[in-house]
Every structure is written in structure tokens, then in C-alpha cells.
């Protein structure tokens, strides 16, 4: 692999305020937003991921690439799969890992987030993997520390490694090395409150896919100006024309907030029910970031069909996160060692 420290995760920082027409771009040595990567950056992650998928198939799926590096997961919101996926990725790269969760930490004793983060940083860690229920926290953390920061999900905002693993999973399934050029992808559900949707809209469109968002108006962001998407509320019309159907998780409290009359009505209008399964194109792929509400956004029997990629998404998550950590911390060690 070429020098993984330089290209493509580094680049000149852009002033977000200077370009109101573009997506906010900030980081140089961090992964905060898919916008930090762009098409070339995403493709580089995909390419490196290929190597780590191969590592994952070995009897001992471990390489010394990040030996001596310390990766801390700082999770201020409940998460199981993302935290485990990052920790597994770090360990397979032989990094030391530490796990910091808000409930058991000094944060619950009143220490400020900045003090907590600076304390961890002062221990000489190399990467902070940050999950927070508030949008923007990884940007703030990045401004306070010298470690590399990886956004593992911030509020409703972004979840870039989820988008990367989704891109990888689609490419793996369709066998296209070129990207997702011309692929028709429908993202269905609660886009307004979804960090997965925001990152995936950026990633899919950067790779050339045509993205359609399908949601009730109350679950769309207030403005879609500048979003490279088509909007529909007719799932039946969109399904037959979609190569990939990406279902978002519906949090049931959306009904109590009067964003929806009921979960039942959501499922009737926007769920991938058994009946709607018949409308899917023959080779259409079905994806979901998990955890799934079977019977709400997806019928139980459809989640288990062969064209459902849900378990591939989870499996690829580890390799993608290995690639991200490797590109950010790159030790220069030989992957084959």
C-alpha cells in the first residue's frame, strides 16, 4: 500500500462557513464526516478494506499493523454493535484498546466533557472513537485533543463508518469495482433523525448512485436544499425501480411525538411488508443498519431472505473500521506480516 499517512485522509482544512453551498468539511487527520473523504477517499477505504477482509478469513485474524498504538472508545450513548465492531477492529490490528462509557465514568460525576477528553488525551492515546447523542461532539473533541478522532455517530448528524461499510457491502454484492455509478438506491424511513441517512446520502451520491429518499413529510429534514436526492412518499412506486432498498430504524417514540399517528400507520405506508416484498426488483438488495424492528420497518420473513445484506453489513463493519483506523494511524507495517 502506498503511504497511508498522507493520502487521502489528509488534505487542506476547509472553512465551513466559506462554502455555504457545500457540506461542512473540517478534518485533516480525523474521520468526522463522509464529506472529509469524497469519492477518492471512500475508494481508498474500500481498497484497504479488501485487504482486511482477507485478514478476517485467516485462522488467526490479526495483524501487527497498529502495535503500540492505543485506541480509546468514548461512548456517551448506548451502543453495542458499533462499539464492539470498533474494538474488534482495533484488536485485530494489535492496537491496545480502552473503553470509556459515560454511565460508568467521571462524566456522570459532573466532570465536563472537555476535561474528560483532555484527561484521556493526556495519557498519550492515538485515536479516540467518539459516539455521542449530541450532533457535533466529534468536531468539538477534535478541537481539544491531539489524538485522531473517529466519529462513531453524533446525534442525528453523521455515522461515517456505517456509510463506508454500507458502500463496501453493496460493492461486494454487485461486484462493481468502479463504484456505485448509476445504481438506484432508495433510503426509506426516518431521515430527519438519522445520522445513517445523512452519511449514506453523501457516500452513495459521491460514488455516483442515484438516491431517492422515501419518508412521511414529518420525518424529512425541514430543508433538503443541496441534498443530492429525489424525494418521494410513494414507496410502492419506488420499490420496483430500486436496485438497493435501505431501510432506516423507526424509533417508536416518533408516534408519541405526533410525528406519526401510530407505528401501525407508518408500517402501512412506509414499511417493507410481505406484500411490498413482491414489488422488489428481482435482484434488489435489502439493507438495514440495525437494530431492526421486525414487523415495523421490515417484515420478519424479508429480513432473512438471501438478498438481505444485513449480516454482511455487520461482518464488513469490522474490516471497514480496521481500514479507517489503519489509514488514520498507519504504522507502515506490512499487512501480510
Amino acid at each position: 500500500m502506498s503511504d497511508p499517512m498522507s493520502d487521502p485522509m489528509s488534505g487542506p482544512a476547509a472553512d465551513p462557513a466559506a462554502d455555504p453551498g457545500g457540506w461542512p468539511v473540517t478534518a485533516t487527520r480525523h474521520l468526522l464526516s463522509i464529506a472529509d473523504l469524497g469519492r477518492d477517499g471512500i475508494n481508498e477505504v474500500m481498497r484497504v478494506t479488501d485487504s482486511f477482509v482477507e485478514v478476517g478469513r485467516r485462522a488467526i485474524p490479526k495483524v501487527p499493523a497498529l502495535r503500540g498504538k492505543t485506541v480509546v472508545s468514548l461512548f456517551c450513548e448506548d451502543s453495542t454493535r458499533t462499539r464492539l465492531s470498533f474494538e474488534t477492529a482495533a484488536r485485530r490490528l494489535s492496537a491496545d484498546t480502552m473503553n470509556f462509557s459515560a454511565s460508568s465514568s467521571s462524566l456522570s460525576k459532573g466532570e465536563s466533557l472537555r476535561d474528560t477528553v483532555e484527561t484521556i488525551d493526556a495519557m498519550g492515546v492515538h485515536a479516540l472513537v467518539v459516539r455521542h447523542f449530541s450532533a457535533g461532539v466529534p468536531w468539538q473533541v477534535a478541537s481539544w485533543v491531539s489524538a485522531a478522532v473517529v466519529n462513531a455517530g453524533d446525534g442525528w448528524h453523521e455515522h461515517p463508518t456505517q456509510a463506508l461499510l454500507d458502500c463496501y457491502t453493496i460493492r461486494e454484492s454487485i461486484g462493481a469495482d468502479a463504484g456505485l455509478e448509476g445504481l438506484r438506491i432508495a433510503i426509506v424511513g426516518d431521515v430527519k433523525h438519522s445520522r445513517v441517512a445523512r452519511s449514506n446520502v453523501l457516500a452513495f451520491s459521491a460514488l455516483g448512485a442515484e438516491v431517492t429518499i422515501v419518508a412521511p413529510p414529518t420525518l424529512l429534514p425541514p430543508s433538503l436544499a443541496g441534498w443530492p436526492v429525489v424525494v418521494s412518499n410513494d414507496l410502492d412506486g419506488v420499490l420496483p425501480k430500486s436496485d438497493v432498498v435501505y431501510l432506516l430504524r423507526l424509533q417508536t417514540e416518533r408516534a408519541t411525538e405526533s410525528l406519526l399517528p401510530s407505528v401501525r400507520e407508518y408500517t402501512a405506508g412506509y414499511g417493507l411488508t410481505r406484500e411490498r416484498g413482491a414489488l422488489l426488483a428481482e435482484r434488489a438488495l435489502v439493507m438495514h443498519p440495525g437494530p431492526m424492528n421486525r414487523g415495523v420497518e421490515i417484515a420478519a420473513e424479508l429480513a432473512g431472505l438471501p438478498n438481505s445484506l444485513v449480516t454482511r453489513q455487520v461482518a464488513n463493519g469490522v474490516a471497514v473500521r480496521m481500514a479507517v483506523l489503519y489509514l488514520l494511524l498507519g504504522s507502515g507495517a506490512d499487512l501480510g506480516a
Partner: protein, 419 residues
């Protein structure tokens, strides 16, 4: 020398707290303190309609003494202390406390009283008792009075007290949970938004209540194009409505939030480009009467929180004049900018007897001397405020208060506070 009566070249002599002469080429007496005002503008001291001094209750963020010093450095000789303290300024006792603390400050500290007890929007605070102590403006600022019937009664009750009721216009249910302006940027950033309509609904309601009751209404920190249009129409109709805008709303937009820097979190939030243009146009046309700082200090640790948990607010006393001059110089002559910062707010707050000029023999010697060509870079570390939460860090501004004279005392000389 610039005041509401015009501009002329003159020296100003002051003795015993009052202006004694305004004439060209005055010869100072041998024991006089002489303040050089060459190439400067001498004007009535500025008057801030909207200052959060935080005392009592939040002294870690600001004190009356420190806030007044920041004000004097900004060219102000009077500030109106907002009542959202802890406890709120909703009783004679708290009014007296703030007036007492303000008595030794380097500017006049006038007090705004709360409209409702505890600013809770449920029952009227003792408006007449507070008015008897000199309170001339009442508001629940920080939130608006949500109950239209209660607001109507407050306006009716207060209409005989020679006071004005001022509103923080925000329909609370529509704004609930919002952390920034709702629009393109909030949608991208995944931050819950406050729609412009949350402000405009209450602007519209209070204009209607002014029509219904005949009472004066002052609309605080207007930030949207729709609000400006509503006020313009109300004035055309002849209603007793006045309005103010904050310096940050005439130059910063919601795009500033892109980096999640909580220095840009404020309420009302930074709006869109069209709103900023409308606020500037409203200041130029007279639809908006005054520029008011909404100086809202917050301790650094409070601002170093996730964006949705950080308190809204920006300091502004030391930058308001310079931001206004820098941003509006192309649109407005300096006399018009000073009208927005001095004599119009003095009239609205009932402070015209002592503040806002005109600068003439017998008038109180509350003056500022402005160097219109001074350029400087905002450095929050140099602020006299106890807080540092300015959105203008690093910004180059043109125009600065050089000297401030409060009741005849030079409290700021060459940009340095004298006490």
C-alpha cells in the same frame, strides 16, 4: 460633535457632571483634564436596551461592576439590566438590590423588571411597585409571555404607568427543542431547528395586542425578514410599536454553526442570508429603532458543552459599536448609526433626561468619543467582561470608542478603563 440635532465642529467643556459649553476653540482652564478628540466624533454616550448583567445569581459569568466596565469600554454610559437573574428581577427587593449595586458602576444601570412573577408567565409581577422605583421597561426576556390573555392584561394594566412592555418573541411550543435556525444548515448538521415563524407568530400577536389595548410594545432582538416586515406594517398603521436588533443578527448567518462552535449559539438564533439583509434594511429604513447588544455572558465551562446543551448567548458590549460601524458604514452615515445606538434607545428606555443627548450646556455629561478610523482585532482575552463568549474572535473591525465620560468623569481614556 454629532448628536440628534446635527453635527458641527466644536469643543465640549464639562464641569460638575454637566456640559457647560459647546463651542469651537474653547480654551481649557489650567486645572482641566483634556481629552484629545482630534479626528474623532464626540457623541452622546451609547445606551444599551438589552444587557444581561447576571447579578444576582450568576456572578461567575458577569457582575454588574464588570458588565458596566465592558459597557463603558464600548462607549456606553447607560445599560438596561435584563431581569432573568436568579432570583428574577420581579419585586421591589430585587430592583433595589440591582440599583444599589449599579450605583457604584461606571455607567448608569437602569433596571428592566419582569412582567410575570419569576418570569414564569402565569401571574403579573408588581408592575406599579417596580415602576415607582423608576423601572420603565418590563420584559420576561429569555422567554416570551406565552399566554395571550395574560399579555393583554399586562399591557392594559401597564398602559397608565408610563412604561413599555418588551417581548422576547418566541412561540415556545413551535420552537421547542430547537438549538439553531431551522433551515438548510440545521438540516445538514442534524441539529433541531427553531423556525423563523416561531418568532414571527409572537411579533404578529403582540402587534395585534398593541392595536387592541393601545399600549406601547417594544420587540426585542428581531432576527427574521418576516418580523421586520410585520413591524414595518405596524408602524405604517401608526401603532405604538418599537423594535431592536442585535449586532450579530446584522452580520452573521446560521452557516457559522457548521463547526459546532457554541460561541455561535444564541437565541434568537443566527438566521439565513435573507434575514440578515432584511435586518440591515430595517435598520436603514427605520423599521427597527435601535441596535441592542443582548450581551449575554456565559462561563467558559458552560459553553464548552455539546452544542445542544450549551446555553445560548453572546457577549457584545465591547464590540457593538465597532460591528455596527464596520457593517453599516456603507449604508448609513455615522449620525444614523449613533441614533440607533444612543438617542433612540434612550427614548425607548425612558432615559432621555440623562442620556442620548443633545450635547448642549446644561445636559448631563454622558458622552463618548469615537475614533471612526481605528482598526482593531477582537481578542476575547482582553475583554472586561467576566466571560469570553464572543462570536467575533479574530475579526478585524473599524471604529472604536476612545474615551467615555460618565456624569462628567472620564471612565475610559484612550481605550483604557480608569476604574
Amino acid at each position: 460633535m454629532v448628536d440628534a440635532t446635527g453635527q458641527r465642529r466644536a469643543d465640549v467643556a464639562v464641569a460638575d457632571g454637566a456640559v457647560v459649553a459647546v463651542e469651537p476653540e474653547l480654551e481649557p482652564s489650567s486645572d482641566a483634564v483634556v481629552l484629545d478628540a482630534a479626528r474623532c466624533v464626540v457623541a452622546p454616550g451609547l445606551v444599551d436596551l438589552h444587557t444581561h448583567l447576571r447579578e444576582p445569581g450568576r456572578e461567575e459569568a458577569e457582575r454588574i461592576e464588570s458588565g458596566a466596565r465592558a459597557a463603558a469600554l464600548g462607549g456606553y454610559t447607560a445599560v438596561l439590566a435584563m431581569p432573568n437573574t436568579e432570583p428574577a428581577i420581579d419585586s421591589v427587593a430585587v430592583v433595589r438590590q440591582v440599583l444599589d449595586l449599579g450605583a457604584s458602576a461606571v455607567t448608569d444601570v437602569a433596571v428592566a423588571g419582569a412582567i410575570t412573577v419569576g418570569r414564569e408567565g402565569e401571574r403579573l409581577a408588581p408592575l406599579a411597585e417596580m415602576a415607582a422605583l423608576g423601572v420603565r421597561l418590563f420584559t420576561d426576556d429569555g422567554s416570551g409571555v406565552q399566554d395571550a390573555r395574560l399579555m393583554r392584561r399586562a399591557l392594559e394594566y401597564a398602559s397608565v404607568l408610563d412604561v413599555v412592555l418588551a417581548q422576547h418573541c418566541e412561540e415556545a411550543r413551535l420552537a421547542a427543542g430547537g438549538q439553531m435556525h431551522e433551515g438548510e444548515w440545521s438540516s445538514r448538521l442534524g441539529v433541531p431547528g427553531i423556525p423563523a415563524e416561531a418568532e414571527e407568530l409572537m411579533v404578529h400577536r403582540d402587534i395585534s395586542l398593541s392595536r387592541l389595548t393601545g399600549a406601547r410594545v417594544h420587540l426585542l432582538h428581531l432576527s427574521t425578514a418576516g418580523s421586520v416586515a410585520l413591524v414595518e406594517a405596524a408602524k405604517t398603521e401608526g401603532l405604538a410599536v418599537t423594535a431592536e436588533a442585535a449586532p450579530h443578527h446584522l452580520c452573521l448567518t446560521d452557516a457559522e454553526v457548521a463547526g459546532y462552535d457554541t460561541a455561535f449559539k444564541v437565541n434568537p438564533p443566527l438566521r439565513g442570508t435573507a434575514d440578515v439583509a432584511a435586518v440591515r434594511a430595517g435598520l436603514a429604513s427605520g423599521a427597527i429603532d435601535a441596535i441592542a447588544t443582548d450581551h449575554a455572558p456565559h462561563a467558559q465551562e458552560a459553553k464548552e458543552a455539546p452544542f445542544d446543551q450549551a446555553p445560548p448567548g453572546m457577549i457584545g458590549l465591547e464590540t457593538a459599536l465597532a460591528v455596527s460601524m464596520t457593517e453599516l458604514a456603507d449604508q448609513l452615515p455615522i449620525a444614523a448609526i449613533l441614533a440607533l445606538l444612543s438617542w433612540r434607545p434612550a427614548q425607548i428606555a425612558g432615559l432621555s433626561a440623562e442620556h442620548g443627548g443633545p450635547v448642549a450646556p446644561g445636559a448631563s455629561a454622558n458622552l463618548c468619543v469615537i475614533d471612526p478610523s481605528a482598526t482593531w482585532v477582537v481578542d476575547p482575552a482582553r475583554s472586561a467582561s467576566r466571560s469570553r463568549n464572543t462570536p467575533f474572535t479574530g475579526r478585524r473591525l473599524t471604529g472604536r470608542a476612545r474615551h467615555t465620560v460618565y456624569r462628567g468623569e472620564p471612565v475610559v481614556v484612550d481605550g483604557e478603563a480608569q476604574r
